[in-house]
């Protein structure tokens, strides 16, 4: 039995590539992008996640007083410090945390943040709190920096069922929306040739890159897809793992949970059941993704971060829900992540219009990932320098 790890090796790939001409696979692998490049996965939690019921200050009386029906009790939650615990449904996160692969960056947001959904989301997407902000999204600008037409690379992809969020809006690079890994397969019989006049050579390189990516991806898809729970997010993360394994060279993946209809994180009423379910999807899907990559030794190349447009109000609202708040915890997962709690849990005694106060500007998180993980220049992408946050091992 061939292990999946061996599929990365030329011999194993060739033996499994039935139906794919051997020469094509050989040239495909020769042309594979560098297998040591770092990869960023950005996961949007649409609707405004209730960070207070995600990372729970179980020892704080104010928490229990503010949340008469929504509060989670310490006995069931997963303790990560003497003050804080993950939600009971987040056992996967608790394990990743104990293994040092999950950082919880607390109190993230922006002092100037809007509390309506489109305004706040637009700020996270553009990385600019001042509307209307730039004409592109922060991931789109990062992708533009990574785009090398002469190399026919694919800098970024959006994996999701909703329309591509604005964060991926780029000036130059075309970021595909991938709903199925097979979207990147080429039909059989595409021509390959090289050289020629500059523009023809460019079209030939792009065609060769597409067919080579397709051949490698085809091999990966035939090898099956790891153990994932049956959630849409898990399916999307599985696709990302497959694209990583296939050496597509994509450096930025963008995906989403909670948008495109009912059942998102925006729980103004009857929050309990829905939020529990979302947190389970979040924790179980990301954990499966991390385990899948870990098995192939790929987790050291990948960092995943979550964000939501805002946190929620500390006090529940009388309809067993919460309203739009301020600060939120950002989760960062990866083999090179410095696991643990980063920054203080924002106090429940000192609030900003009933939201937890922000102490870490979201652009510092972006800058850390751009500069210290993707090796880009955050200043050019974010328009200003922002001090890094300490959540990466280097």
């Amino acid at each position: 039995m061939t292990t999946r790890r061996e599929f990365l090796k030329v011999g194993a790939l060739l033996s499994l590539a039935a139906g794919v001409p051997r020469l094509l696979v050989r040239s495909a692998l020769a042309a594979a992008p560098a297998q040591d490049q770092t990869i960023l996965v950005v996961l949007q939690l649409s609707g405004g996640n209730d960070g207070l019921n995600t990372v729970i200050p179980f020892a704080d009386d104010l928490y229990h007083k503010s949340r008469p029906t929504l509060r989670q009790v310490a006995a069931k939650a997963h303790r990560i410090s003497d003050q804080l615990a993950f939600h009971p449904r987040m056992d996967g996160f608790a394990r990743l945390f104990s293994e040092g692969m999950l950082a919880v960056v607390q109190g993230v947001g922006c002092a100037k943040s809007d509390r309506n959904h489109p305004g706040a989301m637009h700020m996270w997407h553009t990385a600019d709190p001042q509307p209307p902000g730039p004409p592109t999204g922060w991931l789109g600008r990062a992708a533009d920096q990574l785009w090398q037409p002469a190399a026919a690379n694919l800098p970024a992809a959006f994996i999701g069922a909703i329309p591509q969020p604005f964060a991926a809006n780029a000036e130059r690079v075309i970021i595909p929306t991938v709903r199925n890994a097979r979207d990147l397969l080429c039909p059989a019989g595409a021509a390959t040739a090289a050289g020629g006049e500059p523009l023809l050579a460019c079209a030939r390189r792009a065609t060769a890159a597409a067919t080579a990516t397709s051949a490698r991806l085809d091999t990966v898809l035939r090898s099956g897809g790891g153990d994932y729970p049956q959630f849409r997010l898990a399916d999307e993360l599985r696709i990302i793992a497959q694209l990583i394994r296939a050496g597509t060279g994509i450096r930025i993946y963008f995906t989403e949970l909670g948008g495109g209809g009912i059942g998102g994180f925006d729980n103004h009423a009857g929050q309990l059941g829905n939020h529990c379910s979302l947190l389970e999807q979040l924790s179980a899907s990301i954990t499966a993704f991390a385990r899948d990559l870990q098995r192939d030794g790929l987790l050291d190349r990948v960092v995943l971060m979550t964000f939501s447009e805002f946190g929620r109000t500390v006090h529940e609202n009388g309809r067993r829900g919460t309203n739009h708040g301020a600060a939120q915890p950002v989760f960062v997962v990866g083999g090179k992540v410095k696991g643990g709690l980063v920054g203080a849990h924002p106090s429940l005694a000192d609030l900003d219009q009933d939201g937890q106060k922000v102490h870490t500007d979201f652009r510092c998180v972006y800058a850390t990932l751009l500069d210290h993980w993707l090796g880009l220049e955050s200043r050019a992408i974010l328009g200003a320098a922002h001090p890094p946050v300490d959540f990466l091992r280097t």
């Binding site: 075309i174 595909p176 597409a210």
Partner: protein, 433 residues
């Protein structure tokens, strides 16, 4: 590329009318080139007819068709209204693609598409199909006309104000959104003092209920100094001043050169000088387009396959060759996924185009689309490449290499028409226009 060298050195030769001779004969390859640039491709009979009639007579028909274009457009205006609650302008996009496929004057739609990229009005920002429809009608009305008239309409166009974040232009808070587009799109850059003064000139315009309205008391009627001239300018006058700047005609000619002639080499200033001088006189777009398309340069290696097909061109050239109709609503979605969401370009710079169209994902998507167009499916109900080859009386492999690449040496595949057609469409040459 002897011709290209010659062109670079001699504007007079470059812009003189192409007259085929033994050294530069009129070939099937050049008919394909002409219909890719001046139209959205052609059927085999159209290519054959062009080959028989020669370049200049073919261009007469492309530039000034004898068919009743006005009646056609009236009919389609009637079809496409009203978009109603069509928030993402899906129907409007679909009707536009239908027009491109069926119009007796494809060059007109080609130029409408060019101006759409130039203006970059975006429904993703305007969020109003009715405003986008009016915008598109404005572009179409003047696409081959006097650009000064088009710009006069644009500086009073709801969709353009909405796109450029200029829904409110208060006297107390001048909005740089629209003037920034105006200066950058025509002069390449917006100097801060000019921009600030121009923003004052545009005060008073507000969008209410999808309509642009002028509120007199919100207009700053004071003196403004723009491009070194002082006056109580309003937005209309700023637009006129912009087109009086020497850089404006040069910028537009350069953009059109990229659209009609070549994306690969930035043309020398001297090469464009005669065209710029003529355009600056009266902004007659038809005359400019005509000069470019009839020229020696256009039919030289300096232009041949020196552009990448945009997704619209890629799909429509295939459909025109199949002599088929197509379901344009799913097609518009497919094109959006390839990076060209009609009526919603990514930024105020429009579509960057050129090599940016081609990455491994978009090439895979293009090949998938080509394959899908050759089968019965969501785009073409009954796609029959075999019948097209048979009707035109040729073996499939040779036929599709000639139809789509005008190059028999690229014939691949066997007698199966679909495979042969796909073999032609999957050649990297087909990515080029």
């Amino acid at each position: 590329m002897a011709d290209a060298d010659k062109a670079a050195l001699d504007p007079q030769w470059a812009w003189a009318r192409y007259a085929p001779d033994a050294r530069r004969p009129w070939t099937l390859a050049l008919t394909g080139h002409l219909f890719r640039r001046a139209a959205f491709g052609a059927s085999w009979p159209q290519l054959q007819r062009a080959l028989a009639e020669g370049p200049q007579k073919t261009l007469d028909g492309l530039l000034r068709p004898t068919a009743d274009v006005a009646a056609f457009n009236q009919q389609f205006d009637h079809y496409e209204t009203p978009p109603g609650d069509d928030r993402n302008a899906a129907e409007l996009r679909a009707w536009w693609l239908q027009r491109m496929l069926r119009t007796p004057h494809p060059l007109h739609e080609k130029m409408t598409l060019f101006w759409s990229g130039h203006c970059a009005a975006s429904n993703a920002r305007a969020d109003s199909a009715p405003a986008m429809q009016r915008h598109l009608q404005l572009l179409r009305r003047h696409a081959l006309g006097d650009y000064r008239a088009l710009l006069a309409g644009l500086v009073r166009d709801t969709a353009l104000f909405a796109t450029h974040n200029a829904k409110a232009n208060r006297k107390a808070q001048p909005n740089p959104g629209l003037p920034r587009w105006l200066l950058e799109a025509h002069l390449g850059a917006a100097a801060a003092p000019d921009l600030n003064e121009a923003a004052r000139a545009f005060t008073g315009w507000f969008i209410y209920n999808d309509e642009l309205r002028f509120i007199e008391r919100e207009h700053d009627a004071g003196a403004k100094k723009i491009f070194g001239r002082t006056g109580n300018f309003d937005g209309d006058e700023v637009a006129r001043l912009v087109l009086e700047q020497p850089a404006a005609a040069a910028t537009l000619v350069r953009k059109l050169y990229r659209w009609l002639i070549s994306e690969t080499a930035a043309p020398a200033e001297e090469l464009l000088a005669p065209l710029v001088a003529a355009y600056a006189q009266n902004y007659d777009t038809l005359a400019l387009v005509e000069t470019m398309l009839r020229s020696n340069l256009f039919f030289s290696p300096a232009a041949y396959r020196q552009r990448v097909k945009n997704p619209v061109e890629y799909a429509l050239v295939i459909i025109m060759g199949l002599e088929s109709s197509a379901a344009t609503q799913p097609l518009a979605n497919a094109l959006a996924n390839l990076g060209q969401n009609l009526l919603s370009p990514p930024t105020s710079k429009g579509w960057s185009g050129g090599r940016d169209w081609l990455n491994p994902a978009t090439v895979a998507g293009r090949l998938k689309l080509a394959e899908a167009l050759l089968r019965d499916g969501p785009f073409i109900e009954s796609s029959n490449p075999a019948a097209v080859a048979q009707k035109n009386g040729q073996p499939a492999a040779a036929f599709f290499a000639q139809l789509y690449l005008q190059d028999e040496t690229l014939a691949r595949g066997d007698s199966d028409a679909r495979r042969a057609a796909f073999a032609a469409l999957s050649q990297p040459e087909f990515q080029l226009a």
